[in-house]
C-alpha cells in the first residue's frame, strides 16, 4: 500500500541532502531567545537578524508593547472565534476606521493575517465570469487566493506593462471584468512595480487594479502608505491589501478600497468568516504601531539610510543585487544550492541571520541570500553585516 507520506519523500530527500552538505538545516532555525528588534540568540550566540522584514523595528517599541499588555489584561488572550460568530470587538472596528482614514478610503476590512487577506479578496471579489491578471512574481498568498476562487487566472511578465496590455487586448470585452494584481515592493528582489504605467494600461482597458503593499506599507510614500502614494496614483487603485506583520510589527492583514461596496463582500469571504479574529493584544499593538507610522517620518528615513548603506556596500564588493536600492536586498550568487547553503551557514556562524531562498521560490531561478533591513539596525550592525559578506566574497574568490 502506498503511504500517504510517499509523495513527500523527494522533498525530504532534498532537505536531507542539504543538511548533509552544509551541516545545518536552514529551514529549521530555532530562535532560542529574541533579544531586541534586531538581535536574537541562535545556537547559543547572539546573532544580528537581517532577514525579518521588521522594517520600522516596532516589535519592541515601548508604546506598542504597553498597548498590547493593557489589552491582554483588559480583554484577554484571544477572541475564541470569528467576527461573524463571536462578534467584532470594538478595537477591530476602530482599527478598520483608522485604516480607512489613513488611506482616505471609504472601506476597510481587517483580516487575521496578510495571507488570509489575499486569500479572501482574490477568492471572492472576482467570480467565474471574471479574470485575474497577475504579475508572475506575485506572492504565494495571491496565487493561493486565486486557486480558492473561480475566476480565470492569467499571468503577465514581471513588471512588463506591454505584456499586460497584450493580454488585456486578447481578452476583448472581458478586459472590463479583469482585476490586475501587482505588488508595491516584490518580496524576493525588492524591486517595485512600474505602477504609473500599469495604471495607464488598466485604465485604457477599463480593468480594476489591486496593489499588495505588504512590503511597501511604512516604507514608501511621504506618509508611508506605500507605492501608490509615492507615485501619486492612489485615486486610480481600486484595492490595496497589506499585512501588519512587517512594518507594523504584529500579525494581521487588511484590504482598503475606494469603493464603499467592498463592505458587501465582507460576509461572502470564507477566509474572513471561518477563522478566528485577531486577538486583543495584536489589534491594540497594531493600532499603536499605525499611529507611530503616521506621526514619524524619522523611522522611514533611518530605514532608507540603512538600506542604502548596505546596498551600496554590497554593490561595491561586486555582489550581484536586485535592480534597485530597497529595504529588501537580494544577493544573487553564482553557486549551487548546496554551496549557497554553506555560505548562508557561514554567515550565521559569523553572527548574521539572512534568509536563504532556494529555487523554485526564487524569481531568478538561482539561489538567493535575502536581507531585509530595519530602522532599528545600528550603524555598527550594518558594518558587521557588510564584514560578514566580505568574508563570503573572499571565499567565493578563492573558490570560484
Amino acid at each position: 500500500m502506498t503511504s500517504l507520506f510517499d509523495k513527500f519523500l523527494p522533498l525530504e530527500e532534498t532537505r536531507a541532502e542539504l543538511v548533509a552538505g552544509s551541516g545545518v538545516d536552514p529551514f529549521h532555525v530555532v530562535v532560542e531567545r529574541v533579544v531586541s528588534a534586531t538581535e536574537a540568540m541562535i545556537n547559543g550566540r547572539k546573532v544580528i537578524m537581517a532577514g525579518t522584514n521588521n522594517y520600522l523595528g516596532l516589535t519592541f517599541d515601548p508604546e506598542c508593547v504597553a498597548a498590547a499588555c493593557t489589552a491582554l489584561r483588559e480583554e484577554g488572550t484571544g477572541t475564541t472565534g470569528s467576527r461573524m460568530a463571536n462578534g467584532s470587538y470594538a478595537a477591530h472596528v476602530a482599527l478598520e476606521n483608522e485604516l480607512a482614514a489613513f488611506f482616505s478610503c471609504p472601506a476597510a476590512i481587517v483580516f487575521s493575517t496578510g495571507y488570509i487577506a489575499n486569500l479572501a479578496i482574490l477568492s471572492t471579489l472576482v467570480g467565474p465570469e471574471d479574470v485575474i491578471l497577475l504579475d508572475v512574481d506575485c506572492h504565494a498568498s495571491i496565487y493561493d487566493g486565486t486557486r480558492l476562487g473561480a475566476a480565470q487566472v492569467i499571468r503577465f511578465r514581471h513588471n512588463d506593462p506591454a505584456d499586460l496590455e497584450k493580454r488585456l487586448q486578447r481578452l476583448g470585452e472581458r478586459a472590463g471584468n479583469t482585476l490586475v494584481v501587482v505588488e508595491g515592493i516584490y518580496s524576493m528582489l525588492g524591486d517595485r512595480a512600474p505602477l504609473r504605467e500599469i495604471v495607464d494600461v488598466k485604465n485604457r482597458y477599463g480593468a480594476s487594479l489591486l496593489v499588495d503593499e505588504a512590503h511597501s506599507l511604512g516604507v514608501l510614500g511621504q506618509q508611508g502608505r506605500g507605492l501608490a502614494e509615492e507615485l501619486d496614483v492612489e485615486a486610480e487603485v481600486d484595492f490595496i491589501t497589506g499585512t501588519f506583520s512587517k512594518s507594523l510589527g504584529t500579525i494581521g492583514g487588511f484590504c482598503v478600497s475606494r469603493w464603499p461596496e467592498l463592505e458587501y463582500a465582507r460576509y461572502a469571504m470564507r477566509p474572513y468568516m471561518f477563522t478566528a479574529s485577531s486577538s486583543p493584544p495584536l489589534i491594540s499593538s497594531t493600532r499603536k504601531a499605525l499611529e507611530i507610522l503616521c506621526r514619524s517620518t524619522a523611522l522611514r528615513k533611518r530605514l532608507w539610510d540603512n538600506a542604502t548603506q548596505l546596498y551600496q556596500g554590497l554593490a561595491a564588493m561586486g555582489f550581484e543585487l536586485g535592480p534597485e536600492i530597497s529595504p529588501v536586498i537580494a544577493v544573487r550568487l553564482p553557486t549551487s544550492v548546496s554551496e549557497t547553503t554553506a555560505l548562508w551557514s557561514e554567515l550565521l556562524s559569523q553572527g548574521i541571520y539572512v534568509n536563504l531562498v532556494l529555487p523554485p521560490a526564487t524569481p531568478s531561478g538561482g539561489p538567493l541570500l535575502r536581507c531585509s533591513l530595519s530602522a532599528a539596525h545600528s550603524q555598527v550592525q550594518i558594518s558587521a553585516i557588510l564584514d560578514a559578506f566580505s568574508l563570503i566574497k573572499e571565499k567565493l574568490q578563492s573558490h570560484p
Partner: protein, 82 residues
Amino acid sequence: MQSKEDILEQLFELVRPYPEQPIELRAQTRLIDDVGLNSMKVMELVMQIEDHFDISVPLNILPDVQTIGEFAEQLQKLLKDS
C-alpha cells in the same frame, strides 16, 4: 483552425529542449514524469507556448494537463475561442 496534430507538432518542438536526456516525444508523454519538468519549468514552458501561439493560457487549465496531448487539446480549445 489548427488541427490537433498541427498543434502537437509545434508543442513537440517547444518541449524538445527540456528533457535532460533526449527522449521520444509522443502525445502520451507526461510533462512532469517523462520530460522531467518542475513547477518553474512548467511555467517557463507555458510562457513560451503563449508567445508561440499568441494566446494567454489560464492557469486554471493546468491541473487537467498531464501529457503533451492533453495540452494540445486545451490549446485547440483556447485557439478556437480566441
